[in-house]
Amino acid sequence: MLTARDAEPPRTEATADQAYQFEAAFREASRSAFLLARQLGRGPEEARDVVQEAALRAWRYRAGRTGEFRPWFLTIVYRLCHRPMLDWLPLPAGWDRRLAAPLESSVDPDLMAAMLALPARQRAALWLRYCEDLAIIDVARIMRLSESAAKQLLFRGREALRRKLTTQPMEE
C-alpha cells in the first residue's frame, strides 16, 4: 500500500479531515490520471508509478492547489509523464517483461486506433477535452499552453482524426 507519510511537508499539520478529503478526491481522479498516462504512451505499470508519484507530490503541495482537484492533479500527471523514466536492468534469466498493450475501445476501435496514430500532444489534448470533459482553459493549464494555442491544438487534432477516419478502408 502506498502512503503519503514521507510526503508530509515538515511544518504543516494535516488534519484527519484533510487526509480523508484528499483520499476521496484522489480516488475520483485516479482513473482519469491513469488513462491520461496510458494515452501518453506509458505502460500499465509505468502509468501506475506515475500516478502514485503524482499523488505523493499532490499531497505534499496540496496547500498550493487552486481550483478543482482533478485538473490540478492531471497537470501533475501530465508533467511527470514528460520526465524521463527509470531505465530498469534486465530481469533475471527465465523472467520476462511484456510489452505494454495500447488501450482499446469496445465500441469504436477505429477511433482509438486513429488516436494512437496522432502525435502525443494532439492525442493528450483531445483526450483531456473530450474524454475527460475538461474545459479548454483546463486543457491549456495542464499542457502549459495559452488558451488559443490549446484551441489550435484541438482543432488540428480533430482535423487529423477526421482525415484518418475518412481515409480508412471500409470492410467490403
Partner: protein
C-alpha cells in the same frame, strides 16, 4: 473504398463517447486496483486522561517489577529470543531470489492466523538497513511453484488490501519497493528496533482474490482479521571502499556509495559531463517525443551499469535504475543480489569496454 467524409460534429460525438468504451486489460486493472490502496497517514488524536496518584504509584511499582521481563521483550537481542533457524522448506527459489534472499539470510517463522475461513502463515522474513521483507502463505499456497503463475487460479489469494506492520515500540512501517501477492517489502527497521531487534506485528484486514481482479476490480477483496507476529534482527550494513572515478571524453563516472547488507549490494554512482548534458538537452526539449529513439540509445550506452562476477557471469539487479534531473548529474542505482564473497567487476556503462575503465569491488 473509403468511408464517407465525417463532419467535425461526428468526430466530436465519437470522441466524447470514447472514454466510456475503453477496455482495460488485466495489467491495467491490476494497476488501477493498486492505485485505490493509496492512503494518507491520518494523524492520531492523542488524548490525555488524568491519572490518580495511587494509580501512578502502582504503575511505577509494576514497571519496576517487570522491568527485566520488559527489557527481554523489547530487546530481543538481550533475551536471545531469536531462534533464527534458516530453514525455508517449501519456498520456491525464484521467489526467494526475486526478493534478493537466500536460505542463509532469511529467518523462518511459524506465526499463523485464521479468519473468515482462511489461514495466513508468516513463513519467512528478512531485515537490513535498506528494507524489511515478509513472505507469507495463504491457505498453504503462494510460496511454492512458479511465482509467475500464482494469482491466475481460483483460491490464489494475495495480501493486498489493508496490511499494517508495527514494531514493539509502536513504529509503523509502510510498504516500499517491489511487492508480490504473498511477498511484501517494507521500510527498513527504525530505531530502536534496528538496534535491539524488532518484535513485529502484521495486521491484515483483507485478502485480494487475485484471480478475480480482472472481473471485479477493487471489489475482489475478502475481508477478515489476521494478526501475525515475528521477531527479526536486521542484518548489519557495511560500507565498502569506493573505486576510483572513470574519466572519459563523454563524462566522469563517479561511484558514490558501495554498501553491503545481508545478501544485497547497493551501488550508487553519478555521471556528469557532455553526454549527460546531451541527454538533458534531448529529454527536456519540446520535441522530446521525437527524440525517444536516440534517448533510448543513449540510455543503453551510457546510463546502464552492469555487474559481473570474477568468471564474467552477469549479476542481476533487484530493482536498479537511475534518475535524471535537468541540469544535474545523472544518479544511478544498482541493487544486486550477491550471495558469494569475492571480486566483482563493475562496468559503469555499456560504452565503457576498455579494461582501464572497469572497476573492481571486493565483496566480503
Amino acid at each position: 473504398m473509403t468511408t464517407p467524409t465525417l463532419s467535425p460534429g461526428e468526430v466530436d460525438r465519437r470522441l466524447a463517447s470514447l472514454a466510456a468504451s475503453v477496455v482495460l486489460g488485466a495489467d491495467d486493472s491490476r494497476a488501477l486496483t493498486s492505485l485505490l490502496t493509496f492512503r494518507v497517514e491520518h494523524p492520531r488524536i492523542k488524548r490525555r486522561q488524568p491519572l490518580r496518584l495511587a494509580a501512578g504509584l502502582a504503575l511505577a511499582v509494576l514497571v519496576i517489577g517487570i522491568g527485566n521481563l520488559a527489557a527481554a521483550y523489547y530487546a530481543p537481542t538481550y533475551g536471545q529470543a531469536l531462534a533464527a533457524t534458516p530453514v525455508l522448506g517449501g519456498v520456491a527459489d525464484p521467489l526467494l531470489h526475486g526478493f534478493g534472499l537466500t536460505e542463509q539470510n532469511a529467518v523462518a517463522f511459524s506465526s499463523r492466523a485464521t479468519s473468515n475461513g482462511h489461514t495466513i502463515r508468516l513463513v519467512t522474513g528478512y531485515a537490513d538497513g535498506l528494507r524489511t521483507v515478509m513472505l507469507l502463505e495463504i491457505d498453504g499456497r503462494g510460496l511454492a511453484g512458479n511465482p509467475k503463475q500464482y494469482g491466475l487460479h481460483p483460491g490464489d489469494y494475495g495480501i493486498g488490501e489493508g496490511v499494517s506492520l508495527t514494531d514493539q515500540f509502536g513504529h509503523s512501517y509502510k510498504q516500499s519497493g517491489v511487492n508480490g501477492p504473498t511477498g511484501l517489502q517494507f521500510e527498513p527497521l527504525g530505531w530502536p528496533a534496528s538496534k535491539v531487534g524488532a518484535r513485529l506485528t502484521m495486521h491484515v484486514t483483507g485478502l485480494t482474490e487475485q484471480w478475480l481482479i480482472d472481473s471485479k476490480g477493487p471489489n475482489a477483496v475478502l475481508a477478515g482479521d489476521w494478526t501475525l507476529n515475528a521477531t527479526l534482527l536486521p542484518a548489519s550494513v557495511r560500507e565498502l571502499p569506493l573505486p576510483a572515478p572513470v574519466r572519459t571524453a563523454d563524462g566522469t563516472f563517479t561511484v558514490t556509495m558501495v554498501r553491503r547488507t545481508g545478501s544485497e549490494l547497493q551501488i550508487r554512482w553519478t555521471l556528469r559531463g557532455p553526454i549527460n548534458d546531451r541527454y538533458d538537452g534531448l529529454a527536456y526539449s519540446k520535441s522530446a517525443e521525437s527524440n525517444r529513439t536516440e534517448l533510448q540509445q543513449l540510455e543503453r550506452r551510457y546510463f546502464s551499469a552492469s555487474f559481473f562476477d570474477a568468471s564474467g557471469q552477469p549479476v542481476y539487479g533487484i530493482d536498479s535504475g537511475g534518475e535524471w534531473d535537468n541540469g544535474k548529474p545523472f544518479m544511478g542505482t544498482l541493487n544486486l543480489t550477491v550471495t558469494q564473497p569475492g571480486r566483482y567487476r563493475l562496468q559503469l556503462a555499456n560504452a565503457l569496454t576498455s579494461p582501464d575503465d572497469q572497476r573492481w569491488i571486493a565483496v566480503p
